[in-house]
Symmetry: C2
Subunit: 228 residues, 2 copies
């Protein structure tokens, strides 16, 4: 059982607890200073506490009730101080994974310095929603050929692409995609809304379909540039 | 050449134009009412305009200089009105793809109604950064086993997972992953920071490695529940 403490129930925190409510093996506690935010969230969590985390002693009182937690998530916009201070205190109390919605890259820099300066493995996982989303959509904005682009570490990525007309009507074996483009087609779908299907050597790609390919970023970029 | 107009250069817009600067086949124009925001962005774009989009005639003046654009991106926080009105005007001018940073789900509802109510294919692509990010991290928050979880449409997903100890030391052929768990392991890496490698039938998974698997959401959830 993973005990999770979610602090701050704005758009970010509230959406997270609704997603967690459908997952197995978790027990979620939530905290917010605002009554209305708590009311909208109580039904999704094990217990919901009212507290203002600007006061340093609030966290201690909450954790007396929850006991030790494995994971914390900080989604309190507004004052960076309450977020930074609360993250520090959670880390000192031995919480192993702390997801933090940071305001911007400078805020993230301060948080990372705190995390690295303390003993034990890094606990902070920083999220800057506007910046993270902008980086994720760049592929789709740049060309209509790309429907989704997901980074898999530094070198690789997965891309969902409109299937180039030249590739339609032939089997994957005939197309020799891995030899010619260094990409692996792992799935395909009839159109944007239809379910993904396994791709095998004898799959014949129909007109207007989409393909899901995995490969190095440079190979996907070359493929897109060739067919765009 | 994909002509892209980015309106609003806050955290979202600015990060987007820096990402687009390294992509082929795009020409980017940017607009912001704030001088400092423009100065930080000029070197990444073809041309940068100063204008306040609260005044409806501003967009017309800008598009006289840019000519027709294929794609627009709206990243102006603050007033929802300027965003909604500008999105409507871009759509009326025939811009085919309009990415819009919306404030929340109600704002998205209004935007979608405008988009559906007009002739031609849907042009709006709505992004709500806080909500989209919260949904994406739910898998990682729920269990430490999951390093990344990406939805591939309604049924499928890709998940990067810590390799369960029981699976280490055996080859993928021996493990019969597809037969036993209905998942396809497409890649693996020594540890969280090392590069992804192709997975083949004779790959032997080392202790402490991570695997990248693709499959139906329910099969990934069952796999995670078994080894968590
Ligand atoms: N010091 C605090 N103590 C407790 N709750 C707090 C504190 N500061 C903010 N919150 C709560 O966190 C939630 C999110 O805060 P706020 O709305 O200011 O940020 P936001 O960045 O707009 O959040 P989101 O983007 O998730 O909507 C609110 O429900 C607010 O009541
Ligand atoms: N009516 C407008 N006309 C032109 N530029 C605008 C207008 N409204 C906002 N902007 C610009 O859009 C950018 C983003 O706006 P703002 O900072 O209010 O939103 P935000 O939600 O904080 O953005 P982000 O989250 O991307 O930082 C700012 O640089 C601002 O100058």
């Amino acid at each position: 059982m993973n005990k999770i403490l979610v602090l701050g129930l704005g758009k970010f925190g509230h959406r997270l607890i609704t997603e967690l409510a459908s997952r197995e093996g978790v027990r979620v506690f939530a905290v917010d200073k605002n009554e209305k935010a708590r009311q909208a969230s109580t039904k999704y969590v094990h217990e919901c506490f009212g507290a203002n985390l600007d006061h340093p002693e609030s966290l201690g009182r909450i954790m007396e009730k929850t006991g030790p937690v494995d994971t914390a998530v900080l989604g309190m916009g507004g004052s960076m101080n309450a977020t930074t201070l609360t993250a520090l205190h959670l880390r000192q109390r031995g919480v192993g994974r702390i997801f933090i919605k940071a305001e911007d890259e400078q805020h993230a820099e301060v948080l990372n310095a705190i995390d690295r300066g303390m003993d034990g493995p890094h606990a902070f996982r920083i999220i800057i929603p506007e910046i993270d989303q902008a980086a994720q959509i760049a592929g789709r904005v740049a060309t209509d050929l790309v429907k989704q682009e997901v980074s898999l570490g530094d070198n690789w990525e997965l891309a969902e692409l409109s299937c180039p007309d030249r590739m339609c009507g032939k089997s994957l074996a005939e197309l020799e995609v891995r030899q010619r483009y260094q990409l692996t087609i792992i799935g395909w779908r009839e159109s944007g809304d239809s379910p993904l299907q396994h791709a095998t050597a004898d799959t014949i790609l129909p007109e207007g379909c989409e393909i899901t390919a995995v490969g190095e970023k440079k190979d996907i970029a070359r493929f897109v540039a060739e067919f765009d």
